[in-house]
Amino acid sequence: MTAILSGHDIEKSFGGLKALSKFNFEVMPGEIVGLIGPNGSGKTTLFNVISGLVRPDSGKIAFEGSEITRKPPHAISSLGIARTFQIVRPLRDLDLIDNVAIAVVYGRNEIFDMREARGKALETLEFSGLAHKAYSYPGELAIEDLKRLEVARALASNPRVLLLDEVFAGLNPKEISGAIELVFRIRETYGLSIVMIEHVMKAIMTACSRVIALHHGVKLADAQPREVANHPEVIRAYLGVEYAGN
């Protein structure tokens, strides 16, 4: 099986700070890959590089066999890579259904009419558990629903790969369980690959088939969740010395 999304020797630095160095990764079709690491370890930078918001200094990114490294963000997302943002960025002046409908109409759905798109958007909202709030505005939502909106919007473009940036952050345990269930449902229903950045270990452990651990832009581990969780270097970097001994 060949990777649907892969990166080769990606380098990116901001000023003097190396955010990513010689970073390699692969995502197989249908896989859920977790991306963990302490704050500032370069996870979000990686997402920004993949989605084209940030240009890497060097290295290559390939999607379905063709290179996408220097493509503009809209071209990359129209190929089928959708993402969410860690700090939610809804379109605040539009209601939820329009937020999602825009993603539908510009996504890979062969839908170009806004009315039709709203119908499809409603489906996606329903799938994400937001149907009852379709005509609310983002400002009226709680954080959990905003996270769901981010996911719904990304899903609505009918992507092949979904990049989820800390979708679970700020949620309580009950909400996290709900969100994990959503992630599974996404993979089942849409059959797409997911890369998720996450701090909530429970989510990582239950949802991911594979976990990549990052620290200071360097890959520390790339293995099964349990393996990574027990990797001494990962524990030291990510969970802290105290935990390692606890």
Binding site: A142, G170, L171
Partner: protein
């Protein structure tokens, strides 16, 4: 010293805090723990006046402070070290400390307090002319604490001081907090670092879903399985 009486806060229709009560005594070191989004920052911001409460009252040294503006609350000696440090990035370390001592009383003691800070954080002294934005994460956190101390707080509140810091740095900072408390400073600490914060604090509150679920001496909480459950979500 600080008394929070059944306060509620809601953003739009989302309830962030519901009937939360807690107290901080003179000389106390209280840790407020709970997972991300449990309402810890909201609570501390309500005390500081950054967030308006919809119900309840907050008393500081017997006086109601809910409804006052943040700068007035700060002038009472209730100083917060905000989450994410929020330094003045384009100003030098020294200028940051100067702003910390902006209020009239601390301003009079500026020179003396500055010396104390440089004693406590020698690294800041080395970088006194450097802009705050160019410091490393740990140094920035130290500066944020030093800035708050410059205001001669009666009660120091810290919001996630360990966020994004290396474990060693976190330990160092927590050690300083411990020392400050030993010298008599009252501290309210908000942190996700459950183990460490419970280890250094005297009492703890566990916040979950906008309400206090558990409270007691830190030592007891450390042993309580419910903490582990809530925090780790296991």
């Amino acid at each position: 010293m600080l008394e929070i009486k059944e306060i509620s806060v809601s953003y739009q229709r989302h309830c962030a805090l519901a009937d939360v009560s807690m107290t901080v005594e003179q000389g106390d070191f209280v840790a407020l723990i709970g997972s991300n989004g449990a309402g810890k920052s909201t609570l501390i911001n309500s005390v500081s006046g950054l967030t308006k409460i919809s119900k309840g009252s907050i008393l500081f040294q017997g006086e109601t402070i809910s409804g006052l503006s943040p700068d007035l609350i700060a002038s009472l000696g209730l100083i917060q070290v905000p989450e994410g440090r929020k330094l003045f990035p384009l100003m030098s370390v020294e200028e940051n400390l100067e702003i910390g001592a902006y209020l009239p009383d601390p301003r009079k003691m500026y020179a003396r307090n500055l010396g104390k800070m440089f004693e406590m954080f020698p690294r800041l002294k080395e970088r006194r002319k450097q802009s705050a934005g160019s410091l490393s994460g740990g140094e920035q956190q130290m500066l944020a604490i030093a800035r708050a101390l410059m205001a001669q707080p009666i009660l120091l509140m810290l919001d996630e001081p360990s966020l994004g810091l290396a474990p060693i740095v976190t330990q160092e900072i927590f050690k300083i907090l411990r020392e400050l408390n030993d010298e008599g400073l009252t501290i309210l600490l908000v942190s996700q670092e459950v183990l460490q914060s419970l280890k250094i604090s005297r009492r703890g509150y566990l916040l979950e879903n906008g309400s206090v679920n558990l409270t007691g001496a830190s030592g007891d909480l450390l042993k309580d399985v419910r903490v582990k459950e809530s925090y780790l979500g296991l």
